[in-house]
Structures are given as structure tokens and as C-alpha cells.
């Protein structure tokens, strides 16, 4: 097993601080999961299930050495969402995912956060690629994956729990042959 720090680095982008999640992020994150915005992810969730989901995300830092980065607005300190490196138990591959608050949407923030987080995963863990699992009706996430240069991979192993979900593959250009 590779040694890892179990902790996210702090990454500064033009408009955001990307950092290790803290307890204060739980409430705004859970509010998203308890809203209709979570419809593509099995939501809206009950409060306790939203807490379990938050735990499931952050626990992967000590267990796997990667996990969610909190997207915090530099100017205001506002919680904007999570940019997530994840490997859900039962999923065939590790994933790059994102969950944003309603106020954060439509501003290019997920794009701005995804690039350095993906690059950190590739560089730190040496991954050749990572996928994004996206519900077919989630047009905004499909557009973001494509803008990030990911390609629809129809040969990838399906997710047992969501057989219809689209699988977009992000390739590490540093290790690609």
C-alpha cells in the first residue's frame, strides 16, 4: 500500500481555496443533498442519510489518501461545494465528481476546481485515468466533463447500482502512451 498523508493539500485558484473539509462544511453540503439538486444522486436525502454521505466522502482521506476538496470562495469564505476524488465501495473505478450549491452553479467554478484537483490526483497517486459517473439526464455535468476533456467511454465497466449512468474518462496526459 502506498504511504499517503491522509490530508488534502490547500490549492489556491483564481476565485477559490480548495482545501480539506471541516465540520462546518457539513451543514451546507447536507443542505444540497437534502434538496432537489440531489435528484441525480439518489436524493433528496433525509438528514441522517446526508450526514452518512458526508462521512462517506471525508472518510476516504485517511483510508485511501484522497477524497473531497471543499470549494471555498476566496472573497467571502462561502462554501461553494465539494470537488471529489472518490472510490465508492462497489464501483469499478475511482471517480472525479462534484456537488455545488445553487449559488455556485453557472459560474465556471466546477471547471476551475476540477482541473487542479484532477491534476493533483494524477500527480500524487500516479493514476493513468479517472472517470466521472454521470446520470444521462444531467446535461450540465455532461457538458462540464466534455469541457474538461473527458471522453465518453462506452467500454468502461458499468456501475452495478446505476447501470444507465454515462461514464466519462479523464486521461492523464503525462502518462498516456
Amino acid at each position: 500500500m502506498t504511504a499517503h498523508s491522509g490530508h488534502a493539500p490547500t490549492i489556491i485558484t483564481e476565485r477559490m481555496i480548495l482545501r480539506m473539509p471541516i465540520l462546518a462544511d457539513a451543514d451546507p453540503y447536507m443542505a444540497v443533498l437534502m434538496s432537489d439538486r440531489a435528484a441525480h444522486m439518489g436524493g433528496p436525502m433525509a438528514r441522517h442519510d446526508a450526514w452518512l454521505d458526508f462521512c462517506m466522502e471525508v472518510a476516504t482521506w485517511p483510508l485511501r489518501g484522497y477524497g473531497p476538496f471543499t470549494m471555498e470562495e476566496r472573497k467571502t469564505g462561502t462554501f461553494l461545494g465539494l470537488m471529489i476524488l472518490h472510490h465508492d465501495d462497489g464501483d469499478p473505478e475511482r471517480e472525479l465528481g462534484w456537488i455545488l450549491t445553487p449559488d455556485a452553479e453557472g459560474r465556471g467554478l466546477a471547471f476551475e476546481a476540477a482541473k487542479p484537483v484532477r491534476a493533483w490526483g494524477f500527480e500524487t497517486h500516479g493514476w493513468d485515468s479517472i472517470v466521472s459517473y454521470i446520470a444521462p439526464e444531467n446535461a450540465r455535468s455532461v457538458a462540464l466533463a466534455e469541457r474538461l476533456g473527458a471522453r465518453l467511454d462506452t467500454d468502461a465497466a458499468p456501475v452495478p447500482a446505476y447501470p444507465d449512468c454515462l461514464i466519462y474518462r479523464h486521461t492523464n496526459t503525462e502518462t498516456a502512451a
Binding site: 457539513a26 462517506m56 471525508v58
Partner: protein
């Protein structure tokens, strides 16, 4: 950093991915009947993650309890304070093979000694009334029933642990 605790027979250390199957087996078994279980296989990761996540965002969580000599995983103990709990709780679970040997007592005693102090003067244990083994253990650990304390679910017994300098 998660501190490693050592007792006469046990090591309490940070959970790792390799401990997950043991944790999942406990939660899928009848042993979880007093912990809102048994749970379906697709819920076991959530349970394990919750016991670990506290370390990340709250500074406390669950340890994996292992045999000092053989490294065998015997169970899990530690503290947790999810939003649905009125207070921070110490809990424990051991595998079938570890039961009846005082393992949970020895491990929980180490957690109490490590945790109780000026920063954390009290902990509770929420116990389902028919869980007589856990009631006996809570009492052996020096906890007393607190009938005035709020419980997460109606009917749960609340056992209160106070800092006694590790005397009990």
C-alpha cells in the same frame, strides 16, 4: 494523527481499509441487532466511513482493536457525535470470537482514560434496553444510568461516563 493506545492484551490503532471487511461482517450479522442492524451489504461502507470520518472533521472517532500479539482484528471502539446524537458517545463492538473475554471492557477503558478530562468531562453510551451485555459493560466501566439525559431514539437508555481518573 490518530494516537495508538496500548493495553495489556490489545492495540487500538487507526482504522485502515483492510479492517473494513471485519467491520462489515459485524454490521451485517445479528450482532448488530442493537445498533440499528443488521444492515444490507450496500450500507456497510457508510457505517465504516462514519466511524472513521469523525477523525477527519471532529478530531475523534473509532479505533480498530487488535490483538497485541497476533494483530488479529477483534473489534472497534471509540467516540462519535453525529448530528442525531444529543451528546458525544462512546461505543464498542467486538467480533464473535472476541466476545466474552473482557476485550470490549479493556478497549473501552483505554478509550475512556484517553478521552475523559478537562476537554471532555463526560461521555454517554446509548444502549438499547434488551442489550443486557452492553448494559453490564457500561456499568462495569463505571457509567450510571442518566434518566434525565436526552436520547437519540425514544426508549434508548443513556449511560453516563464521568472522569474518575481511570479508577473504575
Amino acid at each position: 494523527m490518530i494516537a495508538t493506545l496500548t493495553t495489556q492484551r490489545l492495540t487500538l490503532r487507526a482504522p485502515t481499509m483492510a479492517d473494513f471487511p471485519v467491520h462489515a461482517d459485524i454490521f451485517m450479522s445479528d450482532r448488530a441487532r442493537y445498533m440499528d442492524g443488521p444492515v444490507a451489504e450496500n450500507r456497510t461502507w457508510n457505517q465504516f466511513a462514519c466511524d472513521v470520518a469523525g477523525w477527519v472533521v471532529q478530531g475523534f472517532g473509532y479505533w480498530t482493536v487488535t490483538d497485541r500479539t497476533s494483530d488479529e482484528v477483534l473489534g472497534f471502539t471509540g467516540t462519535a457525535h453525529p448530528p442525531c446524537y444529543p451528546e458525544r458517545e462512546i461505543g464498542w463492538m467486538v467480533t464473535q470470537t472476541a466476545e466474552g473475554k473482557g476485550i470490549a471492557f479493556e478497549a473501552a477503558r483505554a478509550v475512556l482514560n484517553h478521552t475523559l478530562g478537562p476537554d471532555c468531562p463526560t461521555l454517554v453510551s446509548y444502549v438499547d434496553p434488551p442489550n443486557i451485555r452492553s448494559i453490564a459493560l457500561a456499568e462495569r466501566l463505571g457509567a450510571t444510568l442518566d434518566p434525565t439525559a436526552a436520547a437519540p431514539s425514544p426508549g434508548d437508555l443513556v449511560y453516563r461516563h464521568l472522569d474518575d481518573g481511570g479508577q473504575s
